[in-house]
């Protein structure tokens, strides 16, 4: 935003010197709007657009509908420029006072349709009240994480009579009374999220169900609701999406005795409802033939979830993560569902080759299969999957340690549509990787903790998977600069790469990766060969970089921080523990205007004063992790000051540990845990 204001000044100067000579002036506003419509993908494009001329600048301002400001204190200026904003996302403004909200309300007024306050703190019900008074067209409000908001805030939301979507997750102080106000005053409510509102009970939820008949989506996860409110919810005529994650008050009795209802329900999430079992599942499915999505993750650690299921269901997707699923259960699931598209069996115990074979033989349209940590499946399963599910798009087989290179070869040969593949912690080798390179549509490839792979396989991937956006090479220690360079060359769309503990990686890799202009997440934790030179190259050329982990890159020093401060205006999150950064670097880092999360442990060159200066300077901080030894040296006044801006401190007491653990030992340890 600062940059923008600077540019604005510059434009004004230009406009004064050469008035209306520009050929761009000939373009009508409609045409410019059409052009702007096509510029949605990259935020930087619009910035460039508005720099063309004064009229372009004005048109861009009028065209813009949504805004995500970085600093609340600049809001009055920004909003006076963009006065037709209808969607305001304030998640990057952790400190947002009531005064800011009331100024937003008066500046935008009726044009505001949607506001997101979920990342903000320090505002109260008064701010929401001013929104309710001025922005009477508000349709959507997100006050999630407003842990200090009370019933009055909910009552204020209730006064926005046109509001349709309300998200108030984790508003722990809101009780039934506040929810009651919303229920009575917002008859148009279509979406309500009460996730983690522990003050809300059956009474409030039942009142919502009675009063808001247009409700389509309801999230009552992690609340204390019991079966008492279920009949009312079940009577909602338009309810399509119901999320009851972690509702421990919901049990079999509640669901089985429910006579009718949920007629329009399409998606039901009952994950972590630990008091329900197979009886509820079949009861729900039989009553709701239109149900498409069902999530039963971590529902029942002991019971077999599916055995005894009979009937014909239209289920498209089912998630059974963490449940005990027997072969019989998978058989009855396969027989009772018409066409499954998505199946998640992550961390399910009891999944065997037979079970997988039965499912995939029946459901050839399977698009997404998650078999994470199904440790008993072997190449047989893979043979069944690859032979019948040609349209598979996403496959996760993390820690399926019994699968061998032959299985991986089958994936490459038979699944050309595969886009997401997770083979973390498997026996994948170069041969398998070479075979996988036949999946040319891959966008996400996770091959961490595959100790057998080397540059040879990775080069093949780099050459044949141009769409790759995400690559995870965590602790795959066979990888060197050569492989990464090939990836950087071939996969120019790369956005996320993790090379943590790939100790052979050096500056050379990073220099190559700097060609990937879209790179936004880089993790090179423990790559001790990397120095400021490499990381500066990244900083200079990857301007979208927002997440960076350079922990234990001992060679990185203040020079890298200075280049971040200069180039990385989008950096949100950084971990620079153990780096050779001093006060200079830290204060340079603090000048990045949108930095939110910083972890700074064991920075030998950083003093308490330098830290204090940095903390004071960096206004957008939301979370700072520091070593507890710094705590006595920083004045409590300063800490209060920073905290009042919306920043959280986390004081850690981790011991100083220079030595890196060998990856072989690490993998061995992780396997020992499995055996137990």
């Amino acid at each position: 935003m600062e940059m923008e204001t600077r540019m604005k000044k510059r434009i004004r100067v230009e406009a004064n010197t050469e008035p209306s000579e520009s050929p761009f002036e000939a373009l009508s506003e409609e045409i410019l709007f059409l052009i702007l419509d096509l510029l949605d993908s990259n935020p930087l494009d619009k910035k460039s657009f508005s720099l063309v001329s004064r009229s372009f600048f004005a048109v861009e301002a009028r065209h813009r509908r949504s805004l995500t400001p970085l600093r609340p204190e600049l809001l009055p200026f920004v909003l006076s420029r963009y006065n037709s904003i209808s969607h305001l996302n304030l998640t990057l403004c952790p400190y947002l006072s009531d005064a800011s909200l009331s100024s937003i309300a008066s500046l935008l007024g009726p044009s505001l349709r949607s506001i997101n306050l979920s990342g903000s703190r320090s505002y109260s019900h008064r701010g929401i009240e001013s929104l309710a008074n001025k922005c009477f067209n508000l349709e959507e409000i997100d006050v999630s994480n407003g842990v200090e908001l009370t019933d009055e805030a909910a009552a204020a939301i209730g006064r926005m009579s046109k509001v349709e979507r309300v998200r108030m997750g984790r508003c722990k102080k809101v009780t039934d009374l506040g929810i009651g106000c919303i229920a009575v005053c917002c008859p148009n409510l279509k979406l309500l999220c009460l996730k983690g509102c522990v003050g809300v009970t059956d009474l409030g939820v039942a009142l919502i169900a009675v009063k808001c008949r247009k409700l389509r989506s309801l999230d009552v996860s992690f609340t204390m609701i019991t079966k008492k409110c279920l009949p009312a919810i079940a009577q909602l005529p338009n309810l399509e999406d119901l999320c009851m994650t972690g509702c421990l008050g919901i049990n079999d009795k509640a669901l089985v005795t429910l006579k009718q209802g949920f007629k329009s329900l399409q998606a039901l999430d009952m994950s972590n409802c630990q008091n329900i079992s197979q009886a509820s599942v079949s009861s729900i499915l039989q009553k709701n033939p239109s149900l498409h999505h069902l999530n039963l993750s971590y529902c029942s650690p002991v019971n077999s979830m599916l055995s005894g299921l009979h009937g014909v269901f239209k289920l498209n997707s089912i998630k059974l993560d963490g449940c005990h699923v027997s072969t019989d259960g998978l058989k009855s699931l396969a027989n009772s569902c018409i066409s499954l598209k998505e199946l998640s069996l992550s961390k399910c115990s009891g999944v065997t080759d037979e079970g997988i074979s039965v499912i995939v033989a029946k459901h050839k349209d399977l698009v997404k299969l998650d078999a994470t940590c199904c440790r008993y499946i072997t190449d047989l399963s893979l043979a069944a999957i690859t032979s019948s599910c040609a349209s598979l798009v996403s496959l996760s087989m993390e820690s399926c340690t019994k699968v061998t290179w032959e299985g991986f070869r089958l994936i490459g040969r038979h699944c050309p549509k595969l886009e997401e593949l997770n083979l973390t912690d498997t026996d994948l080798d170069d041969e398998g990787l070479t075979s996988l390179s036949q999946c040319q549509n891959l966008t996400s490839l996770k091959i961490g903790i595959c100790l057998k792979i080397t540059d040879e396989g990775l080069i093949q991937i780099g050459r044949s998977c141009p769409h790759l956006q995400e690559l995870d090479l965590y602790r795959s220690i066979g990888i060197t600069d050569k492989g990464v360079s090939e990836i950087a060359r071939g996969c120019s769309n790369l956005e996320t790469i993790c090379m943590s503990y790939c100790t052979s990686i050096s500056d050379e890799s990073l220099k190559c990766l700097s060609n990937c202009a879209r790179l936004n997440t880089l993790e090179i934790r423990g790559c001790s060969l990397v120095s400021s030179v490499g990381i500066s190259a990244i900083a200079a050329r990857c301007c979208n970089l927002s997440k960076l982990d350079i922990k234990k890159c001992y060679e990185i020093n203040d020079a890298a921080m200075l280049s971040f401060a200069r180039f990385s205006h989008n950096l949100r999150q950084i971990n620079l523990s153990y780096c050779s950064v001093t006060d200079v670097g830290v204060s340079a880092l603090a000048s990045i205007s949108c930095l939110q999360v910083v972890t700074m442990l064991h920075l030998s060159g950083m003093s308490a004063d330098g830290l204090a200066a940095a903390l004071l300077m960096c206004g957008s901080l939301m979370k700072v992790k520091l070593h507890v030894s710094f705590k006595p040296f920083i004045s409590p006044v300063l800490i209060n000051r920073v905290e009042s801006r919306g920043c959280m401190f986390q004081w850690l007491n981790k011991p100083f540990q220079v030595q890196l653990e060998s990856s072989e030992v690490w993998k061995q340890q992780s396997h020992d845990i499995f055996v137990e």
Partner: protein, 505 residues
Amino acid sequence: MKQIIGEPGIDLSSDSKMDLKLTRNSESFHKPNSSNHNLNSFNQASQYFPNLSPTNFLSRAENLQQNLKTKSTNSFEPNLNSGMATQNPPLDWDPHAMLSNLSFLEQKIHEVQSLVQSIIDQQAEFSSRPSELATRQQLATADLTCIIIQLISTAGSLLPSIKNTLLSNNPALRQLVNPDFNNNLKCEGLIRNFPETARNSEYEDLLRNLDNEADWMKEPNPLPQSDIVDANPIDEHDLKESDDGDAEREHLPPGSYIVLQLEKEEILAPHTHFCVICGKGFKRDANLRMHMRGHGDEYKTPAALAKPSKEPGSDVHPVTRYSCPFVGCKRNKEHKKFQPLKTILCVKNHYKRSHCDKSYTCSRCHAKKFSVIADLKTHEKHCGRDKWQCSCGTTFSRKDKLFGHVALFQGHTPALPMDEVKASGSGQGNDDMTEDLGGYNGNFASEECLTSMDVKGIDESRAYFSPMNFDGFGALDEFGRGGFDLEDNPFAFIPSGFGQRSGDS
């Protein structure tokens, strides 16, 4: 009655019914208005009893009388009644045995007579030795008890269906043996209807005579009361006490229970159990029994202290229901849709609530009045604590009631408690706001912002909550503090990942 007598075709129309009313009021002692003294050994027997002065007897053994009066009338009198009818056709009894029984009775009565005579003779001596007097008196009482038992068993032998179980099952007889027994039931009136046939008129006489023996007093009811009677003595019902005797719910068929009606004075009397020795009154029989211990060692025996209703034979009580003495009340037995009351307590509460002045006033609101003190106490527990308020001003003592109200009426919203509004809504809040502005004075808190601040909204919010009652303010303090401490993690039960913002990693 039909079943018991076993005679079909007895006319049960109202004019053929006869009521008997028993009373313990010794002052209103009357002879029965019917002059049938054409019987029998009972009259003879009764002549022995006048030797004891009725008042003496009453003062000394009121309990005993009560037992006789209530219990005997409840269950075994009809038996006697039918059994002793001379013209009763079922002659399956032995007149010889009867004669020997009667002569035994006669002999026994003579013994008691002489015993009592001796007490009178030696009264002067006894004044110095009261314990001996007590012994004699006990002896006389025991003898009398024996006579009555004998009498009843003799009479009972006339009725084949009852005679075998009579003694073993009749608690009244057992209670007679225990002179301390104080019956809970102190009913003034027992209403019975009998078919008035030639035969049955003798039953009444017999019954009255027996009442005379047992009671020393009798007031035949001058008003023939038409009502229910059926002494089906083995009808077992769940005798749960409910506050107002919900006979509606139990749906006893009319006639399957006995109806008792207490007089107004009795209902309103504070005490219902009186010491036969000193006359002290008690609310509870148990208290009386404890009190009786002070009157001598004979009241300290386990039998005397035992709870009388625990006796094994007590489970054959006929189902008893109560009528309210207030004529015209639905609970009065003459009401067309009569709904009987279940227990004495129900009678008392009903009578006080419905037909008495409400003399207890709530000390908090000075508005609510009650006639039953327990009701006042219940009300005072909640008075002024209706913290759940609707926007329409109605208050509720329970949250679910408020939500039911809000769900029912369009446009009504739950009102928020006052302390929240006051704590965060007014002065302190505004200070916060100006402080906020100070923080960003340089670039944000322009004059425009200050004027745009929504002070109006805050005022409105206050007005919105204004109907709230400030009186209960102190009590509401705890309410707003939901107790969600930031330091505590109320999500400890949530596995992982929840609540993490996507930006964090």
